[in-house]
């Protein structure tokens, strides 16, 4: 009778299946009970026919037959047999572990590949989740930030203090809101020693929102911000230890913060560094009581009211709209107030986090592609490992083991391998995160205190799930292939499973990609090194310059309201003048250049538009690197304008905004035209009806803007008033022996201003901007990829060759006995592998040569195609040598050891 089709039948089958799987024991006992009932009924029936009780029961059991067999049939009828066979035991797991040890080379190669592939696969989601994680001490994720999102520029636009006051008054979705702003403070203790420290001014409710209890004393209270209240400060744990020797009686002590004497009222516990890596907290006082004005930029953080979700808060914020401002501008109308996780505010990511970014999706796809390649290769290795047990499988199949049982076993073995690899990979990453300063890669001293990239339980679960997916891909497919062959071999004499075209393609592909990757990696390292070492790359004799950062702790005055700001700017200007004078007076110093970013440093990118040119049709903003420079910057670097004129003191003080642009910018924006006299603007939502247009008065050479490609480093140079740049990046042209100046700098700086803080001076040629880390990171990643691919290809070939030796032992023995030379015997085995390796190397060679040619010596370095091919061929040769050595050595020795006796044994 055919099975009923349709939804009703399907639903019944699924329900039955689920019940059978979920309540396996109940179903088993019901079957047993039903069988016993049947036998009892039959026995009674037989008794009525005259049999004795015992005989009737015995007869009933005989008639019923073998219960286990019926039970098995019953389970099959319920569709549970497949699942029974798919169940695995600890024995399978033990076998899996044993297989790891039995084939160490294959296991290591596979673990190596997956230990990289699996963490790479989970990394994007892990980082995305970490960025949106709640602040430490806020497990319910009730703390959120309010920000203005500028959809045109796709970044966060500053919120003003008056907006904070408006939201604090109007929003009901938050139980409390706080404004804060960060700054650098000069803190002096009793001994008069001053040191800069990163600190935060935070408004009345700040600590009640954060709810982190202090280690000593108390946190800031709302009354601390009142007019006339005593000046107080809270210290961070690290600062308390390093600056005050972890003094247990610190509470109540007076310290000088800037020009104000404050009483320490508390110390925060280790690890608390709100909002990022700050170590000092002061009350943020309002316009009425002190430090900030309504226009002051602040950031806003708040705690959601009970029972209010972030979505509800966003709805209320959207309904309220932008606050009415004292000085409204047209541009602000496009801003979108948003309620976001604190991490998104801080990192300036769009609402929705990384998931909403196309770049993130691309990275995610790329990472998964790497994992897929790793899985494909592991499948090859699992195939190789499984092939060695071909005879065992044939026998087991002949003895009645089902195909699904054997496939399950191979799957479990691969799962064991994948889980070991995932564990190793994740732990290795965790170790790296703990011991490597990741912040340095983004030019920061430390990661924000709330950003934890360490391995979480979720990450481990994701890793295990990914391991299961890999095991399914890499274990089940080869197992099905081999068991199919084993099933046929059990009924007729069929040769052992062989490596097919797919395996060959994988080996060839691995080697081709390895050759191309090694070419790219070497070329990138070469280019980065070349650029760094070549003093002329930026048109500046970088090795003759010392670069140092000078910062005057502003104690929050840079953005303060009223005369304090002007006074600080004047002090900074004086310091700057005196510093330049003191440096210039040093023997051997021929120039001093000051800017907010020096050549080879990372520059601030800003959106811009050109007067008369249409905005891009899709509304996307174009960005350009901008550098604020002191007058004399170019001369200080020993360079001059290419055309037009240099910036002058009149430009700084005059009302007509002017800029200089570099040659890459001029060529990109005004191809074939004269850029002088054209005007550009950097529109912000705070502009009035029209943007502020800056006239281009000069064109300067490329000054080391882009590390990767000097032709693409477009930049605009804006004049800055003295006293407007803090921290100052100073390049000192100290001639051929700049090191001699290093020792004198601290005393020189102290003589200018004792509170002026100097960073460690380095040679300008030694500066490494973000590009450099990116290039070296990619090159390092490629080197790891090459290592993985070489190991994978070599392991696959090794397995293939070992199998070939064992299959052809008899043939080799006979040929050996007949006097065949050793070389021809070895070639019997190695021929195919040699073809695969050569093919892979040949396929990768053009790519490697291309990379070497494009990057190897820069655009004008004179790299010839022929030289590039020689380089690439050399690299390809190294890859081939590495693969061959690993994979050929043992099989070759096996071949050479085969004699007639081995051949005879093989026959048996």
């Amino acid at each position: 009778m055919p099975r009923p089709d349709g939804f009703e039948g399907l639903r019944a089958r699924i329900q039955s299946l689920i019940r059978g799987l979920r309540r396996r024991d109940d179903v088993e006992s019901e079957i047993r009970e039903e069988f016993e009932h049947h036998i009892a009924m039959r026995a009674e029936h037989l008794q009525r026919q005259g049999l004795g009780a015992g005989e009737a029961t015995r007869q009933a059991r005989i008639e019923f037959g073998h219960q286990d067999s019926h039970r098995e049939d019953a389970r099959q009828s319920r569709g549970l047999r497949l699942f029974d066979q798919a169940r695995f035991s600890w024995l399978d797991v033990k076998l899996g572990l044993r297989m790891l040890v039995r084939h160490p080379l294959l296991s290591l190669a596979a673990i190596f590949a997956l230990a990289i592939g699996i963490p790479v696969g989970i990394a994007p989601a892990h980082v995305a989740a970490a960025l949106e994680a709640p602040l430490p001490g806020d497990p319910q994720h009730r703390i959120r930030a309010i920000r203005n999102w500028d959809p045109l520029a796709a970044n966060v636009h500053a919120t003003r203090y008056e907006e904070f006051e408006f939201y604090a008054r109007e929003l009901k979705s938050f139980s409390a809101l706080a404004a804060f702003r960060t700054s650098s403070y000069s803190v002096a203790s009793d001994d008069g020693r001053a040191a800069p420290v990163a600190g935060t001014e935070i408004s009345a409710d700040g600590f009640s929102i954060l709810r982190t209890p202090p280690l000593l004393g108390r946190t800031l209270a709302p009354s601390d911000g009142d007019y006339g209240a005593p000046e107080v400060a809270v210290l961070g744990y690290d600062f308390w230890r390093s600056r005050f020797g972890a003094d247990p009686d610190i509470v109540g002590r007076a310290i000088r913060v800037g020009r104000t004497v404050r009483t320490v009222v508390g110390v925060m516990p280790d690890g608390f560094r709100f909002p990022s890596n700050e170590q000092l907290w002061l009350p943020l006082t309002s316009e009425a009581t002190g430090s900030v004005g309504s226009q002051t930029s602040v950031r806003i953080v708040g705690r959601l009211a009970d029972e209010v979700s972030a979505e509800q808060a966003q709805a209320e914020l959207t309904a309220i709209g932008l606050p009415p401002l004292a000085v409204p501008t047209e541009g602000r109308l496009r801003l979108r107030p948003e309620v976001v996780s604190f991490g998104l505010l801080y990192m300036g990511l769009p609402r929705g986090g990384l998931d909403t970014m196309v770049e993130y999706r691309l990275v995610q796809m790329m990472m998964l592609a790497i994992l897929l390649v790793a899985c494909g290769n592991v499948a090859m290795l699992v195939f190789a490992r499984t092939v060695t047990r071909f005879r065992e499988m044939v026998i087991r199949t002949a003895l009645g083991a089902s195909r699904s049982r054997i496939v399950t076993q191979v799957f479990v073995e691969t799962l064991v391998l994948a889980v070991v690899a995932a564990g190793a990979g994740v732990l290795a990453i965790d170790w790296l995160i703990r011991h490597v300063n990741i912040a340095a890669f983004v030019s920061e001293a430390a990661l924000p205190y709330w950003l934890s990239l360490g391995v979480t339980g979720t990450a481990m679960v994701q890793a295990v799930l990914l391991a299961a997916v890999c095991a399914t891909m890499a274990g089940v497919v080869p197992a099905i292939r081999i068991t199919g062959r084993a099933a046929r071999a059990s009924v007729r004499s069929e040769p052992m499973a062989r490596f097919g075209g797919l395996t060959s393609a994988l080996v060839v592909g691995d080697i081709a990609v390895a050759v191309a990757a090694v070419g790219l990696s070497v070329a990138m390292v070469g280019q980065a090194t070349h650029f760094r070492e070549n003093d002329e790359a930026a048109g500046i004799a970088a090795a003759e310059f010392l670069a140092a950062e000078f910062r005057l702790p502003d104690d929050g005055l840079m953005t303060a309201a009223g005369p304090d700001q002007a006074r600080f700017a004047e002090r900074l200007a004086t310091t700057q003048r005196e510093l330049v004078a003191a440096l210039s007076a040093e023997p051997g110093v021929t120039g001093v250049a000051i800017a907010d970013a020096l050549p080879r440093m990372d520059q601030r990118a800003r959106p811009f538009e050109v007067e008369g040119a249409e905005r891009t049709a899709n509304g996307h903003t174009r960005w350009v690197s901008t550098i604020r420079i002191d007058v004399g910057f170019l001369a200080g670097l020993g360079r001059s304008v290419v055309s037009g004129r240099d910036l002058t003191a009149a430009d700084v003080e005059g009302n007509r905004p002017v800029v200089m642009v570099n040659t890459p910018f001029a060529e990109r924006e005004f191809p074939g035209e004269n850029p002088l006299g054209r005007r550009i603007a950097f529109p912000t939502p705070d502009d009035g009806d029209a943007p502020v247009w800056h006239e281009i008065v000069g064109v300067v050479p490329h000054l080391g803007i882009s590390m990767i490609n000097p032709q693409r480093g477009a930049a605009v140079y804006l004049p800055a008033q003295q006293g407007a740049i803090n921290p100052m990046q100073v390049a000192i042209h100290a001639g051929t022996a700049p090191d001699r100046l290093v020792a004198r700098l601290p005393a020189l700086v102290r003589s200018v201003d004792p509170s002026l803080v100097m960073g460690a001076p380095v040679l300008l040629s030694e500066l490494r901007q973000g590009d450099w880390y990116q290039v070296m990171g990619i090159a390092g990643g490629l080197a790891v990829l090459v290592g993985v691919l070489v190991t994978l290809a070599a392991s696959g070939l090794y397995a293939m060759l070992s199998l070939a030796v064992s299959e052809r032992t008899r043939e080799i023995g006979i040929r050996s006995a007949l006097g065949a030379p050793a070389r021809s015997l070895v070639m019997i085995i190695l021929r195919r592998a040699l073809i695969q390796i050569s093919l892979g190397a040949l396929l990768g060679l053009p790519f490697a040569a291309r990379f070497v040619f494009e990057l190897g010596e820069g655009p004008d370095g004179g790299a010839s195609p022929a030289l590039s091919v020689v380089w690439a061929a050399g690299l390809a040769g190294l890859v081939v040598l590495a693969v061959s050595l690993i994979s050929f050595l043992v099989p070759t020795r096996q071949v050479l050891a085969i004699g007639a006796s081995e051949a005879m044994r093989a026959e048996g």
């Binding site: 009778m1 019944a12 089958r13 039903e34 049947h38 073998h66 049939d73």
Partner: protein, 113 residues
């Protein structure tokens, strides 16, 4: 030829559905009922009965519930589901068409060819 008939493949399910359609019944009862309604001509292998019952239940043609049997033991009683009733009706009609056709064929004489 023996008085007992061998069941053609696929017929056991139909016989079980018929037995259950006559009223809810436990597994052993199905066996007895088939024997009774076939006049003792059909004897179902005891071991074959339960896989068939479970298959029909798995397919949603039978439902079951536990009750107490005539010997005061807990027993599993089967009954037709609406889907089972429909399927049984369809297969009964199909079976009749088949048996009529087979009977007609077997009764054919040379003159009818």
């Amino acid at each position: 030829m023996s008085r007992q008939a061998d069941l053609p493949p696929g017929t056991l399910d139909l016989m079980i559905l018929k037995a259950v359609s006559l009223g809810h019944v436990h597994g052993y009862g199905v066996l007895l009922r088939i024997e009774a309604i076939s006049g003792g001509a059909i004897l179902v292998q005891q071991g074959a009965l339960y896989p068939a019952l479970y298959r029909l239940e798995h397919q949603g043609l039978l439902s079951s519930e536990w009750g107490t049997s005539e010997n005061n033991r807990r027993a599993k009683y089967y009954q037709l589901t609406p889907l089972g009733r429909r399927q049984f009706g369809e297969h009964k009609a199909s079976w009749r068409r088949l048996t009529d056709a087979v009977a007609l064929s077997l009764a054919a004489t040379p003159q009818e060819v």
